[in-house]
């Protein structure tokens, strides 16, 4: 299993800069990245994935410098669900999810095992009914679930999910968070719904204006911390609706 390390990471762009002194995430941790819009959550994910190059600092996987890892190796270490994903041309849902097996296939075709894994995952994520429909004809939430299935199908050791529950209804959100927290992989995900994150994640990174404000376990998430991160008043125990799976 993979261990992630970032040291003295910094990145600058016009009027935004991100600085992470030290971050270490061991195998299997479920980490939520919290913070207001534009605080650097997505940028952090892109730096950790090597989609952006840091102005200084290093990202290491199992002690290996990210720069020195081949694309094929990276795809087995981590997978990413970006905030916006698109598929041009009428590829079917099945094909899109099958693409997730790409890092594991040799030559120019998928194996029977890849097909089986794809079918299992489609069933698990409630997507079997439209597996033959073109991806582009689905609703936003359905597309999101298909992309999530694609990411999980990659079977990488670390899963980066940029707002996994964006545009999902509450039933599928609960289902997917339950699925994720039961999986052995490391999950690192920016989440906007604080209550949901609090329920399903173990460790919380609070970002504010490109700085790591706090890196705490669930028990240390306090109203004061939330207040400082988001600049709002926080009280507890006033939830009007509670949702359960």
């Amino acid at each position: 299993m993979a261990e992630l390390q970032a040291e003295k990471l910094s990145f600058g762009r016009r009027n935004f800069s991100l600085q992470i002194d030290s971050l270490r995430i061991v195998a299997g941790e479920k980490v939520a990245v919290m913070g207001e819009n534009g605080c650097g959550k997505s940028t952090l994910l892109q730096l950790l994935c090597g989609l952006l190059s840091p102005t200084a600092g290093v990202v290491r996987y199992n002690g290996n410098n990210l720069d020195e890892l081949l694309m094929a190796r990276r795809a087995k270490l981590f997978s990413l669900l970006p905030q916006l994903s698109e598929v041009i041309f009428p590829f079917s849902v099945y094909e899109v999810v099958l693409f997730g097996r790409f890092p594991h296939c040799s030559g120019n075709s998928f194996s029977r095992q890849d097909d089986e894994k794809t079918r299992l995952l489609l069933a698990r994520l409630d997507l079997l009914d439209f597996s033959q429909r073109p991806f582009n004809q689905l609703s936003g939430g359905e597309q999101r679930r298909v992309m999530l299935a694609r990411v999980l199908n990659q079977q990488a050791e670390i899963i980066y999910l940029d707002e996994p529950n964006a545009s999902l209804d509450i039933r599928h959100t609960l289902d997917i968070f339950a699925l994720l927290s039961a999986r052995p992989e490391t999950v690192i995900a920016p989440v906007h719904d604080i209550n949901l994150a609090y329920r399903f994640f173990e460790r919380f990174l609070f970002l504010k204006q490109g700085r790591l404000l706090a890196d705490v376990a669930r028990k240390d998430v306090t109203p004061e911390l939330l207040k400082e991160t988001y600049g709002v008043q926080v009280t507890t125990g006033t939830a009007v609706f509670q949702f359960h799976h």
Binding site: Q46, M71, S85, F91, S92, F102, N108
Partner: protein, 316 residues
């Protein structure tokens, strides 16, 4: 379906060989007709097929890498900037083998310019891309016309370059085209699965193990090589690469493992038929530049695509 397509292709090849200024009856040939069939018609029809396959394949790859259903060698400006390079090379007296090389260089420059112009925040704006391609075409056509007037005052050669046509065919050129097509096709075929992932957004494709910038550069160079060679030998034949990838996708799905082959095959079929029509449509043996026919078909198809895909096209 796939088998019928091949059958249709073979029939089209045979029929095209027999059509033309002199219709040939294969069962009752004179020596002259025999000569025409073997030394004129056959190489020309095969040449049309190979050029069509090259344009179809390049269109398929352009549409994928530029994420634009309206992309092909013509609308991206690659063909006209390649023609510009070829004409400048000819005008300055470069040796014949250098002409396609110059066409490749200017074709790539034109394509890169259009690509850069349409790129905003890592996403390609399809509308800007088409506009930039059109401007590229206008400028390149103007320079082509200028240099033709300046260097040789010959209207007919301007028509050849801008409308396209198979006026000079030789077995040597046919062989070059066939070889280049085969090499490029096989190298794309080998990467078909990688190419598929380019249909996804760049972040997803990259984290799935595809080196996106490198694969895209390779696709640009290889597809433009096809266009550069086709343009150097036959002028600008537009829209073949726009039409056939769509037909191939609606017949056999979007998977590039099929689309590469069937875009090529349909491109060959389309151009063989268009050329046969160009040879017989004017009574009395005169020939129409084949680009006029493909432009007519392609223009209508372009409008159809604009109409059916408008919503998604403008709003991403």
């Amino acid at each position: 379906m796939k088998r019928w397509l091949w059958v249709a292709f073979v029939i089209a090849l045979c029929a095209a060989c027999l059509m033309g200024a002199t219709a040939i009856n294969p069962l009752n040939m004179t020596a002259v007709e025999h000569d025409i069939l073997l030394n004129l018609r056959l190489p020309r029809v095969l040449f049309g097929a190979v050029i069509g396959a090259m344009l179809g394949l390049s269109g398929s790859v352009y549409q994928l890498t530029l994420k634009n259903p309206l992309a092909d060698s013509f609308t991206t400006g690659a063909a006209s900037s390649a023609a510009l390079g070829a004409i400048l090379a000819i005008s300055f007296g470069a040796p014949a083998p250098l002409v396609p090389c110059c066409a490749l260089v200017t074709g790539l420059l034109g394509l890169t310019l259009v690509y850069r112009l349409s790129l905003t925040n890592g996403f390609i704006n399809p509308v800007t891309m088409i506009l930039a391609g059109i401007v590229m075409n206008i400028v390149a056509s103007a320079v082509i016309s200028f240099s033709k007037y300046f260097f040789e005052e010959s209207i007919s050669s301007i028509v050849f370059w801008l409308m396209g046509g198979f006026f000079i065919v030789s077995w040597g050129r046919l062989l070059v085209c066939a070889l280049v097509f085969l090499v490029v096709y096989l190298s794309f075929r080998q990467r078909a699965l990688h190419l598929n992932l380019l249909a996804l957004d760049e972040c997803s494709a990259q984290t799935m193990g595809v080196n996106v910038p490198r694969l895209r550069s390779f696709a640009f160079v290889a597809a433009t090589l096809l266009v550069a060679i086709a343009v150097s030998y036959t002028g600008i034949i537009g829209f073949v690469g726009l039409i056939v990838p769509h037909i191939a996708r609606s017949l056999f799905g979007s998977d590039m493992r099929h689309n590469l082959l069937y875009s090529s095959l349909l491109g060959a079929l389309l151009l063989v038929i268009a050329d046969a029509v160009a040879r017989v449509i004017i009574p009395g043996g005169a020939e129409l530049p084949v680009g006029i026919i493909t432009a007519l078909l392609g223009g209508i198809f372009f409008l159809y695509l604009l109409q059916t895909r408008r919503e998604r096209f403008w709003h991403g």
